[in-house]
């Protein structure tokens, strides 16, 4: 068996996946709440870049100097 495969097939769309998995529309609406929660999490993360130094850390650094 190969240790890995390179996939060149076209990526399935969400609609194609829904068709394949036969998910009810009502369920999708309920799950949308979680999707919005994740979106919110992502947007908050974008507002606070990973490189940003927390204010208390910045104050400590300034006093040490």
């Amino acid at each position: 068996m190969p240790k890995s495969v390179y996939i060149t097939a076209r990526r399935p769309t969400l609609e194609e996946m829904e068709k394949s998995l036969r998910i009810p529309t009502a369920r999708k609406k309920e799950l949308q709440v979680l999707v919005d929660k994740f979106k919110d999490q992502l947007s908050r993360r974008e507002e606070t870049p990973a490189t940003a130094i927390r204010p208390e850390k910045r104050r400590k650094r300034a006093s040490a100097a």
Partner: protein, 206 residues
């Protein structure tokens, strides 16, 4: 000649137990992030014999993942070894041998070199070792399935943590404690795929 399998479909042969839930969610999230469609034996409706349903599903999938990390005897309850995963792997190997261009299978384990003892006939097959961690599963899925435009393992882990963290809410809505139920599995797939599409559109933090 059987019909061609869906080129993005992956049959997931995993143990259905409580201790495996974290890795089970990691498989679903990881495969969806790789733009693959996971399939589980429990998702097929109908009154056919279970083994027939599983074989039908294997034949319809282009790839299969066989996690043999929990083949050990459970000492806390009845001391019965778990044969389901090796049995389904055997069926897959037969199918792949008969139709080599239609199916590829991969074995995953948590411990290196254990497969040589638990299934010595598979010597010569290198299993992918995930070390029993969700991050390990995501890493090994990326090692197995190479595809352009795939997010990094830390980004996949971010989605995994979110989905796993909200699993109880999904289970509660279904009135079940079993995440392997068809309806829960389908929702986990849909949520993972939607979040994968979403995260692809945002800039990475790492």
């Amino acid at each position: 000649m059987p019909p061609l399998p869906d080129p993005n479909s992956v049959f997931l042969n995993v143990p259905y137990d409580k201790e495996f839930i974290g890795l089970y969610v990691a498989y679903i999230v990881g495969l969806c992030q790789l733009n693959l469609v996971p399939h589980l034996a429990s998702e097929i409706p109908g009154g056919d014999r279970r083994l027939d349903k599983i074989f039908k599903l294997i034949r319809s999938c282009r790839y299969s993942i066989h996690d043999l990390s929990r083949v050990e005897v459970d000492v806390t309850t009845a001391t019965v070894p778990r044969f389901n995963m090796p049995l389904e792997l055997g069926m897959t190997i037969t199918w792949q041998t008969l139709h080599p261009s239609r199916h590829s299978w991969f074995v995953l384990e948590s411990e290196p070199y254990r497969l040589q003892r638990s299934a010595s006939d598979l010597n010569g097959t290198d299993p992918n070792i995930h070390n029993g961690y969700a991050e390990g599963v995501l890493r090994e899925l990326c090692n197995i399935f190479r595809r352009s435009g795939v997010p990094s393992v830390p980004r996949m882990t971010e989605v995994y943590r979110f989905v796993h963290g909200n699993l109880d809410a999904i289970l509660y809505r279904h009135g079940t404690t079993n995440p392997y139920d068809r309806s829960v599995f389908v929702e986990l797939c849909w949520l993972s795929k939607t979040l994968a599409d979403l995260i692809r559109m945002t800039k990475p933090a790492i």
